[in-house]
């Protein structure tokens, strides 16, 4: 093992091998994934696993989501929720919260109410920045939009102790404006209710900034509450 070219080839191919195996192959395997409808069937009664399918009677290509009352999932985030995702990213929420439900029987994800089906690759195809996460210092958030109200989210962000005493989550009070209640216009309609113990004081109110509104909008949109051809509820 003295020759540079030979050594170099070995060094090159070992890494190339893993890159092809772990990245290129799954990329090829999964790039065909599209938003799907859970139970829409074609003329032959088979479930359709893609957004589009060919109607065998007319021969025309149809969109799964064109069907009345049926949505192909997952849907991409839009507007406020999409901006909220950026807030989630830059606050580093990823480092304490995962966004993936493991299958029933592997861990206690179902029993803790973090989801009623396992997360699958298709759930993430519309996600610009996939944050599966590797820590659960806090609970999993794949379905957090189904678990709490908007008010709960605001209070919890303002000071986690309000809703979750003993929590080690940092407060995000800097996403809120503590302001004097206007004497002429009265309390702001956006002000959130804060319990006495955590309230900043008489004559003051707590109003979420735009970033907090976006973040809550994002959190409320975290929900894998649809079935997919490959994954039904309680699976």
């Amino acid at each position: 093992m003295k020759s540079l070219p030979l050594l170099f080839l070995g060094i090159f191919f070992t890494l190339a091998f893993s890159w092809m195996g772990l990245i290129l192959t799954p990329h090829v395997q999964m790039r065909e994934l599209t938003p799907a409808t859970p139970e829409v069937t074609n003329a032959a009664g088979e479930p359709i696993a893609g957004a589009t399918y060919v109607d065998e009677q007319t021969g025309e290509e149809k969109l799964g989501e064109d069907q009345d009352g049926v949505t192909a999932n997952p849907q991409p985030l839009v507007g406020s929720a999409q901006r909220g995702k950026i807030v989630y990213q830059k606050m580093g929420c990823l480092y304490c919260h995962s966004q993936q439900v493991r299958r029933a029987g592997f861990g206690a994800d179902f029993e803790r109410g973090w989801g009623n089906r396992q997360s699958v690759a298709r759930d993430y195809i519309a996600t610009e920045r996939v944050m599966l996460g590797t820590m659960r210092t806090g609970p999993d958030l794949a379905n957090v939009g189904l678990r709490y109200s908007e008010l709960w989210q605001y209070q919890h962000l303002y000071n986690p102790q309000i809703t979750s005493p003993g929590s080690t989550m940092p407060p995000f009070a800097f996403l809120f404006e503590v302001q004097k209640i206007s004497e002429t216009r009265g309390p702001s309609p956006n002000a959130i209710e804060i319990p006495e113990e955590y309230h900043p004081g008489d004559g003051l109110e707590v109003v979420p900034k735009q970033e907090a509104k976006d973040l809550v909008s994002y959190l409320m949109n975290l929900r894998q509450d649809y079935e997919l051809p490959e994954m039904k509820f309680t699976q």
């Binding site: 890494l15 606050m91 029993e111 996460g133 820590m135």
Partner: protein, 498 residues
């Protein structure tokens, strides 16, 4: 040298062939003196910054209100700033000091045009500084181990290339006939990192891949920064320093060949164990698990090889600061790798995944193995580059005891605490409801996290002792000259020598 000076010949690192070995090694040392000092001083400053960020994050983990008023000091950012300061600030700077020097010495090839190394060093540190501030101000890329914002990528890439090229040049024009195992590890590491980094930047930052391919790329990259960059450099240094200090050749050449290629083949695939149970194809997880378990081969091979080299020489080893740190690192390489292979098993991973156990494991690898070996390398290298001895053996002892005990406390606390956390998170009563509420599991981790903060304090003390010694040896007015006869700095009295 060459009669016709040309660009190519100006890069030729070969020394005068008629000089004897010692003089040629002296040439290598002289050529590396200035750049190595730049990199070491930078690395020590980053080590301090990273330690302070780490302590802040550690305290926040039990007292979330601590420094909680500003967005730029929120836990997610401080923690990421800590990680990046340690890996790209401390780790890479110390590698840039140690690796070209070891490569140069083994190749008997001095590093030429060291001004280029100095420029690269300055730009590297500017880039990392901007990157850390970028994370704190909210430009963070939400990808683990890749948080520094995309706008520093070009500087990082160019600065890295200007360092890495000297390692390849030294190897290409080596004057030695024999190629030693450390040289393979270094050559491979300096080739693997840019490839990993380029692919990760393209597939995660500039043109993000679709869906969970991002997560796969993330863990292929992040785990390989440890496995194919920090680990090979750490092993190269251990392979170089243990025989050098103890005056005994490495036990087996063939074992070292086997260890190298087994690592090259299996470590690549292992990172996917961070996604066990996740929404990725099951076959990939299986491949990652198999590779993680196969890592037992290179780990045991290296362990046997190192152990058989050291065996019987523990006493003189204990007297040498270098050997204390390097052997501690080598033992922990074995321990952390075997634990890592176990953690990749699905049944074990079910408990340890998502808990502080993983954090403990990461520090076990990056600190107890890599960082400790690098400390040992610095203790060996600086007296030889500066031709003077370490000014204070007591500070070395403080450094050693604080860091060795501190990191053991951290790893043990986080892994026991994390294991309990995992068990409680998964525990179900007979009718299928969780035994512990989530907040109860959080509460039960707090004592262990306090122990972690305490260990951080110990490491800080150790790092301060190290930092003082480093600045002292560089800037002292009347250095204790190292002459032919003088002994290297020893930690135990001469009489106890073998």
């Amino acid at each position: 040298m060459s009669t016709r000076p040309s660009l190519l010949s100006s890069f030729r690192p070969s020394g005068e062939p008629e000089l004897d070995l010692k003089a040629r090694l002296g040439e290598v040392d002289t050529s590396m003196r200035t750049p190595a000092m730049l990199f070491i001083v930078s690395s020590v400053l980053w080590l301090m910054a990273g330690t302070i960020l780490a302590l802040m994050a550690a305290i926040k983990a039990t007292n979330p209100d601590f420094l909680g008023e500003q967005a730029w000091l929120t836990f997610g950012r401080v923690r990421s700033a800590h990680l990046n300061a340690m890996i790209y600030g401390w780790g890479n700077n110390v590698i840039f000091a140690v690796a070209p020097w070891i490569m140069g010495r083994l190749c008997r090839a001095r590093i030429r045009h060291t001004n280029i190394l100095l420029v690269a060093g300055v730009f590297w540190n500017i880039a990392v500084t901007i990157g850390i501030f970028g994370i704190l101000r909210g430009d963070m890329v939400a990808v683990e181990w890749l948080e520094m914002p995309g706008y520093i990528t070009p500087i990082v890439a160019i600065a890295y290339a200007l360092v890495g090229v000297w390692v390849v040049i030294a190897f290409r024009w080596r004057q030695s006939n024999h190629v030693y195992v450390s040289q393979w590890y270094l050559l491979a590491a300096f080739f693997w990192l840019p490839w990993l980094y380029t692919v990760a930047q393209i597939m995660l930052v500039f043109e993000p891949a679709q869906g969970v391919v991002q997560s796969l790329t993330n863990w292929w990259f992040a785990h390989n920064v440890l496995g194919l960059w920090l680990t090979p450099v750490g092993l190269a240094a251990a392979y170089y320093l243990i025989p050098k200090v103890l005056g005994r050749p490495i036990h087996s050449y063939y074992l070292s060949v086997l260890g190298f290629w087994a690592l090259a083949l299996f470590y690549n695939w292992a990172g996917i164990h961070h996604l066990i149970g996740g929404p990725v194809p099951a076959w990939i997880i299986s491949a990652g698990t198999v590779a993680s378990v196969m890592m037992v081969i290179p780990v045991v091979v290296v362990a046997v090889n190192h152990h058989l080299t050291v065996v019987g020489l523990h006493k003189p080893g204990w007297a040498s600061p270098t050997i204390r740190f390097v052997v501690f690192g080598a033992i922990n390489y074995t321990a952390v790798s075997l634990l890592g292979s176990t953690m990749a098993l699905r049944s074990v991973n079910e408990v340890t995944h998502f808990t502080h156990f993983t954090v403990g494991h990461a520090h076990h690898g990056v600190y107890a193995f890599f960082t400790m070996v690098m400390f040992g390398a610095v203790y060996y290298m600086m007296p030889r580059l500066l031709l003077r001895e370490w000014p204070n053996a007591f500070l070395i002892k403080v450094h050693w005891w604080m860091c060795a005990l501190g990191i053991l406390l951290m790893v043990v606390a986080l892994q026991i605490g994390g294991w309990i956390q995992g068990l409680q998170m998964n525990a179900l009563t007979e009718d299928g409801t969780p035994v512990y509420t989530f907040l109860e599991t959080v509460e039960n981790t707090k004592p262990w996290l306090w122990a972690r903060s305490l260990s951080g304090l110990m490491l800080l003390i150790g790092h301060i002792a190290f930092g003082i010694n480093v600045f002292w040896i560089i800037f002292q007015k009347q250095p204790a000259k190292a002459s032919e006869e003088s002994q290297p700095t020893l930690l135990t009295p001469e009489s106890s020598q073998a």
